[in-house]
């Protein structure tokens, strides 16, 4: 299927995606073949249902949030380019990329962008702030029915207290980055893509 699928992907498109995401040529064609096999509607885009059909993702407590990260606000289809753009957040940071100091724009797999991906999992209404309510909702997704409301509430309170520096009882992206500054984001938010 791989090469049959790749013939549908134009060389220019591959080049464009390569430039934007940093994936190699063969990674792009192989991911395209994966994309088409997920695309049950065969219309060149993926819907939320297409993602939910992956059993391992369906049992992931944050599965719905992760799927959501693929869809820009208000849209319910994602094309191959958008698909690749989101996946690119999880490319490991290579040594040569660190030194390059690209002036134009930050690569998708930078530490900041990786953190932004995580931040948006919590930021349900996309207002660039995590409120106590949002944090509670995401916590509830992660723990299911196993923890009581009071206990979850105190966890949320404590988490916000720890992170909040300006006293608005919300976590902004700056505060989010500050809390996680000691975490090895580069490694923990990366997947080992093979050639």
């Amino acid at each position: 299927m791989g090469s049959r699928a790749s013939t549908l992907l134009r060389e220019e498109e591959i080049e464009e995606i390569k430039k934007e995401t940093g994936f190699s040529h063969s990674q792009i064609t192989r991911l395209y073949s994966r994309f088409t096999s997920l695309d049950k509607g065969e219309n060149g885009t993926l819907s939320r249902e297409d993602f939910q059909r992956i059993p391992e993702l369906a049992i992931n407590p944050l599965g719905d949030r992760i799927i959501n990260a693929f869809f820009p606000e208000g849209e319910d289809q994602v094309n191959f380019k958008g698909f690749m753009r989101t996946l690119a957040h999880f490319r490991p940071i290579e040594d040569n990329e660190k030194n390059k100091n690209l002036p134009a724009s930050e690569p998708l797999n930078s530490r900041t962008n990786k953190l932004l991906f995580a931040f948006r999992l919590y930021d349900l209404d996309r207002d660039n702030k995590i409120s106590r309510d949002e944090l509670l909702q995401v916590l509830r997704m992660m723990v299911g029915v196993n923890i009581s409301d009071e206990q979850l509430g105190s966890i949320a309170d404590r988490t916000i207290q720890e992170a909040d520096t300006n006293g608005d009882s919300c976590i902004s992206f700056q505060e989010f980055m500050k809390v996680l500054e000691k975490v090895d984001v580069e490694q923990k938010m990366s997947i080992r893509f093979l050639h």
Binding site: S33, I59, A118, N146, I147, K188
Partner: protein, 446 residues
Amino acid sequence: MEDFWAGVLWALRIWLYLIISLIMIPAMFGFSLGISETYMTILVKTLEWATLSIQKANAEEEKVNASASNGLIQREGGSMEKELEELRRSRPKPPEGGDFTLSDCFYFSRRGIESIVDDEVTQRFTSEELVSWNLLTRTNNDFQYISLKLTLVYGLGIFVRYCILAPLRITLACIGLTWLVIGTSAVGFLPNSRVKFWLSEWVHVMCYRICARGLSATIHYHNRENKPKKGGICVANHTSPIDIVILCNDGCYAMVGQVHGGLMGILQRAMVRSCPHVWFERSEMKDRHLVTKRLKDHVNDKTKLPILIFPEGTCINNTSVMMFKKGSFEIGATIYPVAIKYDPKFGDAFWNSSKYSMVSYLLRMMTSWALVCNVWYLPAMHQQEGEDAVHFANRVKSAIAHQGGLIDLQWDGGLKRAKVKDTFKEQQQKKYSSMVVGDDSSGNSD
């Protein structure tokens, strides 16, 4: 004009005689004239040569593709506990209020994205990916122009497969199936006696042998001493309906299944006349007790053939074994596990039932190079004391996966069509909760 038709008739006659004398008769009595062996040797040589020339043509590219068969990503196999532990190392455990950090979502995101890129389940329901092109245009390695020589061989291959092998195989399959219907119906008229059993077995095996020749099947049986015996249940991994032909080439089994319509229905009705297969009506299938009871009755009758069951309940692409349904393990009979592994080099044996109909699948098989497969009979297994059916089923599954060199998966093959059950997600949530608040308090809130 008359001369022409006489010529055609004459050619057809010769064709039939040749088939009968060279293939049918040997097949009936289970010996071989060495024609298929010669064909296989030539085939293996050709494919080896093709692989070599492909490698030579893109020696540097090949290095990149070497990892292609291993998937797109390399997963880190750490458990949830271990990974979250690592994530939390950077901060001390708070004295109260539960252990949660904002970075916990890293674990779930990475797992989630990994499963989007490359998951264990859905890819088992599509054709296996091959490392190198096998001169067929129907795998991940589509037609590639490498050299003129190779293209010529490919063209010749098309001619041989479609113009010589395909008509031959279709004729054989038709004869085989007709024989099966006529033979079993005829045997069915005989009174129940040892002669009838013997004749019925002979007719069955003979027809399956003819059908197997119709697929150019080369089957290697291993450990024949463990062959399923009467009064037991034979369980095998399932790749395609052809599995039945493969297994029945070496002995007869009682089939279990739903009554079908059409061609399958005719076959089923004919077969049940000569020997006791267990067919269920669609409505009966839902009644689990009835199914279990009829299977039990069959197994308890020591004169009846061993039952053949594919407990996965669906066709998997021959790279892995998926969850075994526990039904056949509840009966308490001796289980004879059998592992079947096809060689994907010669053609893709997997029946992707959501993509191809039965007939178009068979036509694809008949226009492939050949069907090469290994069958391992494993030692009989019994349910141990205190072991429930689910564990027993898992134990048998692992044994089959290990022997066949297949990946042992816990997932249900039913996911091909159905959605995953919520309980699996609840398990994940429970596991995570116990990481947050500790085991004891999660127990309280249940």
